[in-house]
Every structure is written in C-alpha cells, then in structure tokens.
Symmetry: C2
Subunit: 241 residues, 2 copies
C-alpha cells in the first residue's frame, strides 16, 4: 500500500527542485527498471510495482506493491507501465572530462525527448561525456530518462556555462553545427574535440560562435526548414566518429 | 463563437475513422497554419483562432474567432497555440511513384513523432515518396502533422501491403537497415532504389527480409541497444543520398 507521505514525496520528484534537494529521480517501466537494477553504477532506493511485476522479476530492492490506481497517482505517464523506481542520482568521478576524447556540447536543447535521444546516440557512438548549457532540459527529467533508454548510466551529462567551458578548452578543436559550414559528408573522422549542437530553431548562440573552429553543415536538397536536434546530432556523429 | 455541432465535428477528426470519412485533418499552431495557407497544394477548409492570430495575420479563409476556453476544447495539445485549422487531405496524382528516384519504405513505424521526423527528413534530403506498411501511424494524426513541420505537403505518404509492394518492384534495388549489414559509412551514394526502415525494437519483419538486396548497418561502439527510427533514417539518408 502507498502511504500518503510517499505519494507526496514521489510527486515532489516530478520537479527539478525536488530532485535536486533529494538527490533522487524517477524511472518508469519494467525495461529501464530491470536494466538499472542490474547496473552497478546505479542505486535504486525503492520500487513501487504492480503484483504482475513483483511476481515476474526478483530484485533485491525495497519494494512496495501498489494497485493500478496508486501507480496512476505517482506516474507521469498517461498509461503507467507496471513499475516505478526512485533512483539515486548518478555519482560520477569529478574531472572525468578527457581532452583526448570527444565531448558533445549542447546549447539550449530544451526538449527532453531530444536530450534523451542525444544521450542515447552518444552511448551508441561511444561518446562518454556531454556538456549542456545551463538552460538545457534536466537530464533527470522523466522524459529524458525514458527516451535515453538507460544510456544516462553510461554517459556523463554536466551543466556548465558554455562560454567559460570553451575558454577553458581553448586548445581543443571545437566543431559546431551551423547553416554555412563544411559539408558534413566531406569531413574526415576525428578522435578528439568538442562537437557543439545548437537549438533547433535558433542555432548556436551568437556569443558562442567565435569559439567554433570548424563549422559543419548537413546539406539538404528539399524545402524542409530544419532538422531536429537529435537527428542532426546522429548524422554528424555518424560522419565524424 | 464555436457552435456545439462544430465542437463535435472537430473532435471527430481526432480519430482516423473520422478523418477518413470526412477527408479532413487538423493542423494546429500559427507556424504550420500560416505555411499551409501559403501553399497552393493545401486547401484549408476553416480556421478557428484567437483574436490575437486573426488581428496579426490576414488569410482569405473562412475563420471563426474563438476564446481560449473554446480553443482548449478543440485542441489536442495541452497548451493550445492560437489557431487550429481544418484542412482537406492532400490530393496527390496517382502513380506518382517513380522507379528512377529514391523511395523510403517504413515497416511498422507506429510512433507518430518518429513518422513525422522521417517525413521531415525525406523533405530535407529531397525524397518525394514514402511507402508505409498498413500498420504504421496515420500521416494525418495530429502529432505526425506537427512533427513533420509542414513537410507532409511535399512528401507523398502512401499505405500499402509491403510484400505486394516489393513483389511489384522486383527490379528495384532494395536497401534495408538491419543489424548485420554493410557499414553505412562505407556505402556509395545512390540515385534510385527503395530504402526500408523497420520497427525500432523488432527491426524489419521476417517475411520482408528476403526482399532486401543490400543490408545496411549503423555500427555502434557503445552499449546502447538501438537507435530511434528517425535518427537511424537520418544517418542512412545522409550517407546514401
């Protein structure tokens, strides 16, 4: 049974403020919860699940059986999916950013689905670090967690002031997706450097453009105005890595 | 003012059955409605808009001024966006599929956001035709319309039985995204042929695999299990076109 105090506590994690205060976030659905439970870097604090989930899967974690109505109350999905886990934010070793590898940097990516897709893409292409501008979506937003499909456990996402970040990395080669750069299909593969993806409609912020050493463009033939940020990142990574 | 009968009529267009019966669909938001109103291939039947929209933009289309509360009732968005248009389904010339160009074929792409993204990508790369399996999302679903960002006016989407479609096109080269194919980055550009994208978790249906002449794979280095179908399509198109 779900206590009233638990209901309130979980609902407080719907918001960034609550997640930051408690150092916790929420993951929903059997796939991601099972994956997290098997991942040594992830600590699940508690599970709330339907009997169907608890009877099927054995997890040595503090669990509370809930009814469908109770799950509905603590879920952020229209149709809740069997189980919800309260998870500790991932603890990364500090200064893990290496100047000898590739780092994706996101400027004003505010759509949680896009951020999740990009984290999953980074994981797919073996990129271990993402730096986000301070106004990007929160990596622990439930939609990001869901669309990253567990990749948030393998890709370190940090929030920094990008101007300072670029100033501190002036010796790194900084690549940026713009509308007037080199054709991405003509680029050679790279092993290190920073790849900057800007906001879908506004592009990379004006004040950051002077830091870009190599502008890259995905050439189009048709009339579509833009590509979504997740797709653009995928195309660029597939050509550069 | 919105009549009760209009409310019911618009709500009937939320569902595929209603859209098919009436030959109409809904587009929401000032960007897409303005774009559609300027497009000669698109016929808007009627507009329902807040005064803010009607005062700003002059469109020679039958319009009804509505309040925010009324717009909320006919909108499928949580936060309605100024204007909603009832639009006639696009009439394409039949048999416009050319064997001398590229056709994207989608097998069981059921997520409307993914379908919309792929339509936008097709438009970006100059692909004019998409064939969908009968169980794909409906192109006139409001989420598809929204995420395709107006590209549905430029890319013809048809629904066919894929087995029959491949049998009728046995002389075309059929490329398919699978897990064990040729590295997409090593492929040469193509000018014609069929590119098949399968379902994100299940891949291309077993019964369709024998029709694939060239299997293509996006190689990953990390641990992510899969890429989303929109991103995979973007990467493949950027290497092949």
């Amino acid at each position: 049974m779900l206590l009233k105090s638990e209901l309130k506590y979980i609902q407080s994690l719907f918001h960034k403020k609550g997640r930051d205060q408690e150092g916790l976030f929420i993951a929903e659905g059997p796939k991601i919860v099972t994956e997290f439970s098997a991942d040594k870097t992830i600590r699940i604090r508690k599970i709330y699940a339907l009997p169907s989930f608890l009877n099927k899967i054995k997890i040595a974690i503090d669990s509370t059986e809930v009814t469908e109505e109770e799950l509905q109350k603590i879920s952020q999905n229209k149709t809740p999916n069997e189980v919800l886990a309260v998870v500790e934010k991932i603890k990364w070793e500090e200064n893990s950013k290496s100047k000898d590898s590739i780092c994706i940097t996101l400027d004003t990516i505010q759509d949680p689905g896009n951020l999740g897709t990009i984290i999953r893409l980074a994981d797919w292409f073996g990129v271990k670090q993402i730096v986000c501008s301070l106004n990007c979506a929160d990596v622990y937003n439930s939609k990001v967690v869901q669309s990253s499909m567990g990749s948030i456990a393998r890709v370190q996402v940090e929030y920094l002031d990008l101007k300072t970040w670029f100033q501190e990395n002036s010796e790194s080669r900084i690549y940026g997706a713009t509308l007037n750069g080199r054709d991405v299909t003509s680029m050679e593969k790279i092993k290190k450097g920073i790849i900057v993806i800007g906001n879908e409609s506004k592009g990379i912020s004006e004040e950051l453009l002077p830091f870009i050493n190599v502008q890259i463009t995905i050439l189009g033939k048709g009339k579509a105005e833009s590509l979504n940020a997740g797709v653009a990142t995928g195309i660029i990574l597939s050509h550069l890595i």
